[in-house]
């Protein structure tokens, strides 16, 4: 009985306590990408090489994550042939935005050149 209550409380707390962008990003992005040969940073470089500005890049990432497609992917054909296209995200808009924001700030070029 005690075990059941404990599990229930853990499950409930998972849903009820708001997660930080870092947590959402690490849980929903980093975990899966860790198994891929192309790092998240390389993918970021591919995104900015295609979309340049912050606003355009974020929109492109969000659009792709919600509805992944071969044609809108920034990855090479070799990569896509081998690993295919990911599944649509299950995150809601708010969570997705905060995760993308975190991701962008993590790897943006501005301030890193010297």
């Amino acid at each position: 009985m005690i075990k059941k209550i404990l599990i229930l409380s853990i499950v409930l707390s998972t849903f009820m306590v708001a997660k930080t962008p870092k947590e959402i990003y690490e849980k929903n992005c980093v975990e899966c990408h860790a198994t891929l040969p192309s790092s998240l940073e390389k993918m970021f470089m591919s995104y900015i090489k295609t979309y340049s500005g912050e606003r355009d890049t974020k929109i492109a990432i969000k659009t792709f994550l919600k509805k992944p497609d071969l044609d809108t992917s920034v990855m090479s054909e070799v990569f896509l042939d081998k690993f295919g296209v990911k599944k649509p995200t299950k995150l809601n808009d708010k969570e997705l935005d905060s995760a993308i924001e975190y991701y962008f700030n993590q790897y943006k070029i501005k301030g890193r050149l010297n």
């Binding site: 470089m45 900015i48 979309y51 340049s52 500005g53 912050e54 606003r55 070029i109 050149l113 010297n114």
Partner: protein, 402 residues
């Protein structure tokens, strides 16, 4: 009076001078505008040439920089040093025109302009096809070499000045060419007036002398009246002749100032005017004091003649004319039609005639004014419509009274 037939007329009369100045001002403005326009075109073409040369050079720099950016993109973040060059400075901006990295001394002003000048620097904006490091715009900056500007301005100033001088010479030539017909017309008119004046002298003298010599004792009353009319008419023509002589040849006459008994002169002239006045049954009232002036006799005679003849001409039938002479001045007052107030100012202008019912050229009062001004006298006009006009010449202004 002797009449000279020489043709050396002052070609630059007032009206001609005015047209000449107007034409030259207009011509200068046109020439200056044309030169300014040409200078602007020349400046723009030189600027374009300079930009073309810089574009070629800066594009080479841009291409080498793009290669380095591509390399940096590939090795980022292991390598983070932005590529530099001693020949130029550069910066990268993203598609939202937000700065990614910059070494520029001057902030970029435009992103849509391919090349432009800013504060002694030249900026080339190169749009990248592939956005390495997220950069859409690569801006290359070099110091502007200003020799082209100095050379261009020097050429504009030197060539502009030479062109202006040449065109000005043309301008003077054109003015002479265009004014020639006008000048010829003036010469013709002057010659005509001189010739006519010259030819009038003898017949008028002959008529006047012969009228005086006619024995009227044998004449019927009717013929006497006719003779008087002929006499008056001839005297009117004689007055007009004298004005014309003065008008056409006044500038050739030598001024001969002497002491003149003005009272005697007026009385002398009045003999002449009584006859004309009688035809209108005009009563003359003379209040003359002894006055001597140091003046040219011909000129003061023109003043008296014109003022008195006008007083007769514009007087009513059975009217009066009062002539006053004091050491202060001389006045002629008539009981005529009067002059409207707005016409008084212009009545002394050449060819100005406020009333067309009487004949005349409108030169009489113009002569009066020019003579009065020459001797520094003042002239005053008082007039009431249908009451009369008084014209007063004040001798005191410059102390010509003796």
């Amino acid at each position: 009076m002797l009449v000279s037939r020489s043709k050396d007329i002052n070609l630059f009369r007032q009206s001609e001078k005015v047209s000449l100045i107007r034409f030259l001002v207009l011509y200068t403005i046109l020439v200056a505008s044309l030169l300014l326009l040409i200078s602007i075109f020349y400046y723009q073409s030189q600027e374009k040439l300079m930009y073309a040369q810089y574009t070629k050079l800066l594009n080479t720099y841009a291409n080498s920089q793009i290669k380095k950016l591509k390399n940096l993109h590939h090795y980022f973040p292991q390598q983070t040093r932005y590529p530099r060059s001693t020949k130029f400075k550069s910066a990268i901006y993203d598609s939202e025109e937000s700065r990614i990295f910059s070494l520029l001394e001057k902030e970029p002003q435009y992103f849509d302009n391919k090349i432009y000048r800013t504060d002694g620097k030249i900026h080339l904006v190169h749009t990248l096809d592939t956005y390495y490091l997220g950069a859409k715009y690569l801006i290359i900056e070099v110091d502007e070499d200003r020799t082209w500007l100095e050379n261009t301005l020097k050429y504009i100033l030197i060539l502009g000045a030479i062109a202006f001088v040449i065109l000005s010479i043309f301008g003077v030539f054109f003015v002479k060419l265009f004014l020639k017909p006008m000048r010829d017309a003036i010469l013709l008119l002057d010659d005509f007036i001189k010739d006519t004046t010259h030819e009038l002298n003898t017949p008028i003298s002959a008529i006047l002398n012969n009228i005086e010599m006619i024995d009227t004792s044998q004449m019927s009353e009717k013929n006497k009246k006719r003779l008087t009319r002929i006499d008056i008419a001839s005297k009117s023509v004689s007055l007009l002749y004298q004005d014309l002589t003065y008008f056409a040849l006044g500038h050739k006459m030598q001024k001969k100032d002497e002491e003149i008994d003005i009272k005697a002169l007026i009385l002398n002239r009045m003999e002449y005017f009584f006859a004309i006045g009688n035809s209108k049954n005009i009563e003359f009232i003379l209040n003359l004091e002894e006055v001597y002036l140091f003046i040219d006799k011909a000129k003061i005679t023109r003043v008296i003649d014109n003022l008195v003849s006008n007083a007769i001409k514009y007087n009513k039938r059975n009217g009066t004319i009062t002539i006053d002479l004091t050491p202060m001045g001389f006045s002629v007052k008539d009981s005529g039609i009067g002059i409207p107030k707005d016409k008084i100012e212009s009545m002394f202008d050449r060819y100005s005639r406020f009333n067309n019912t009487e004949g005349g050229f409108g030169i009489g009062l113009h002569l009066v004014k020019s003579i009065v001004v020459e001797y520094g006298f003042a002239i005053k006009v008082q007039s009431s419509l249908d009451v009369g006009t008084q014209i007063y010449v004040d001798f005191r202004s410059k102390g010509y009274t003796l």
